[in-house]
């Protein structure tokens, strides 16, 4: 895959480097910079790859703050399907259309949105190539491509297997597939969710999903069971989740961790089974949340390291592996910061500011960042985890004494309030990033 991409890229490079993808890219551009210094105050060309929470936030912040910049957002999809709250869509408590957002509002503020997949990035020549064969030059590049499923990391789990045993970890068609399978589950059926090791997108997400599916089974198929097979023994908001499971889903939801031998070593899609070191476990519906990485584009461009993710400098979010490249959101190694929509948005806002400083020839600014992740333990009950982060020598580190989870003992009213706040947060964040729902 990467070799193929690379070859195509090399073939094109001689012909296409320097060709502009769109007219907007050409306006008043300075000469291409080759170092980390200023690249010219006006008209610099910023290429943002990926139109999720990180990329769309960064593109908007850059263009809104400095309208003279030529900001191009490369995103193959015309509509973005947001992951937060999408677990509600699995159980029919929300429609996926409520999760979908377009790019018209970004265009309205002057961002040039190009619905093409980026086939290759060449940091050396400050160019990128698109799937349609065109190429574009950039002065600064922001990689915000999120996660890719690491097919090949789990034997037996490839795209064909995912069509039978959905991951539903990229919201959209996979979410619909898993929702359909859950509706068709036999009355006494068994649902299995497998959870990978860290790091992966949305650390508490698998446990919110387990909670909501258990809620659905309790209402609609009380004789069915949910088995969560986890490669870890410790997980986000564990105490709160396990207390909620004991209180609400006893006899329905069963969680097993690595110490129980629950780590999945392979998948047998034909038999609808997952394999541990000890046995094959069959289920009527199997949701495989597989290992993830920053993806083929980042790897081919040399922006990811052996971990599969992209190392960054603190506090600038500049790549440690290429000049004039920034990496934000799930693709980046932000250390203590989780791969979450909130973190992606916060990183994007700070990275936009750091980019403007680089354009002005200034050194990066220190700052603190914060993250908040809400999780639903039922459609009407919520919990949260929050942390504040500060730059350490080489990593974003949590600020001691701050952050933490919702209290273990809380009234129903408090849990209900956090479920309401989760929805309000989603509405505000998506509205401020994408505009109103498409």
């Amino acid at each position: 895959m990467s070799g193929h991409t690379r070859r195509r890229w090399l073939q094109r490079q001689g012909l296409l480097a320097g060709v502009l993808a769109s007219g907007a890219l050409g306006s008043g551009c300075s000469t291409t910079a080759t170092g980390t210094g200023p690249v010219g105050e006006r008209g610099a060309r910023i290429a943002v790859i990926g139109g999720g929470f990180a990329g769309a936030s960064c593109a908007r912040a850059l263009k809104s703050t400095r309208p003279d910049l030529a900001v191009t957002l490369f995103e193959p999809r015309r509509r973005y399907t947001a992951c937060p709250l999408s677990n509600l869509a699995l159980i029919g408590a929300r429609t996926l259309s409520q999760q979908e957002f377009g790019y018209d509002d970004l265009r309205r503020v002057g961002v040039d949105v190009v619905h093409q997949a980026v086939a290759g990035i060449d940091p050396g020549s400050h160019t990128l190539s698109l799937d349609d064969g065109t190429a574009a030059s950039w002065d600064l590049l922001v990689l915000a491509t999120g996660i890719e499923i690491d097919y090949g990391a789990l034997p037996g789990y490839d795209e064909t297997a995912a069509a039978r045993l959905p991951h539903a970890w990229l919201a959209g068609a996979q979410t619909r597939l898993l929702a359909r399978q859950l509706r068709a589950l036999p009355e006494n059926g068994v649902v299995i969710i497998t959870v990978p090791n860290n790091p992966y997108r949305c650390p508490p997400g698998p446990y919110e999903r387990a909670s909501l599916i258990a809620h659905y089974l309790k209402q609609a198929k009380p004789r069915a069971k949910l088995l969560v097979l986890d490669a870890k023994d410790r997980f986000s908001k564990q105490g709160l989740f396990q207390a909620a499971w004991a209180a609400h889903y006893d006899g329905i939801l069963e969680w097993h961790g690595q110490a129980d031998g629950a780590t999945i070593t392979a998948v047998d899609a034909a038999r609808s089974a997952v394999l541990t070191e000890f046995e094959a476990i069959t289920g009527d519906v199997i949701n495989v949340i597989p290992p993830q990485h920053a993806g083929a584009l980042a790897r081919a461009a040399g922006l990811s390291d052996a971990s599969g993710w992209c190392p960054i400098e603190v506090p600038s979010f500049r790549s440690t592996r290429a000049a004039d490249v920034y990496v934000i959101g799930d693709a980046a190694i932000a250390n203590g910061m989780p791969k979450s929509a909130f973190a992606a948005n916060a990183q994007a806002r700070l990275a936009a500011l750091q980019i403007l400083r680089q354009l002005d020839g200034l050194e990066p600014l220190d700052s603190k960042l914060l993250n908040t992740c809400y999780s639903l333990i039922s459609p009407t009950l919520g919990i949260s985890v929050a942390d504040v982060y500060q730059p350490g020598a080489r990593r974003w580190e949590p600020v001691a004494g701050a952050g933490g989870t919702s209290p273990a003992r809380a009234t129903t009213a408090v849990r209900q309030a956090e479920a309401v706040y989760a929805r309000r947060w989603f509405e505000h964040l998506t509205g401020s990033v994408f505009g109103a729902p498409a």
């Binding site: 110490a259 700070l350 220190d366 929050a386 004494g401 701050a402 952050g403 964040l429 401020s432």
Partner: protein, 132 residues
């Protein structure tokens, strides 16, 4: 049934903390000292040095926009005065104002940082309004 093997091994959960280290005391307990207007100086010391320029209220306030802003049902901080916002942040940090999330977040900022955030986000005092 297929779950027997995993059940056999239940009860062996590791008790090691895999999560974030939250046991150290806050780096600077600022509740005693009231930050004055010389905030730039204070901020210089407050964020760990990494070879970068010192944080400003504007940069510290950036992530607040994830929840707060015009039209947000979680509140638009620009509708509060600087003084009211600072008072609220201080009260959250000092544990005198209840909240689901904000006390956990406010504790991550010292008094000077909270004051700088309030100045960055709060509505400027209107002339003659009597706010400092």
């Amino acid at each position: 049934m297929s779950r027997s093997a995993t059940l056999r091994r239940a009860g062996l959960l590791g008790l090691l903390l895999g999560g974030l280290a939250l046991t150290l005391p806050a780096a600077a307990d600022s509740s005693a000292e009231e930050a004055d207007s010389s905030t730039e100086e204070s901020l210089e010391k407050s964020v760990a040095p990494s070879g970068a320029s010192a944080a400003t209220g504007e940069t510290l306030a950036l992530p607040c926009g994830g929840c707060h802003g015009p039209g947000s049902a979680l509140g638009h901080l620009g509708e509060l005065s600087v003084a009211a916002l600072r008072e609220a942040l201080d009260a959250y940090a000092n544990g005198t104002r209840p909240g689901t999330l904000m006390p956990r977040l406010a504790r991550g900022y010292d008094a000077a940082e909270r004051a700088a955030i309030a100045r960055a986000l709060g509505a400027p005092a209107s002339p003659g309004a009597g706010t400092p």
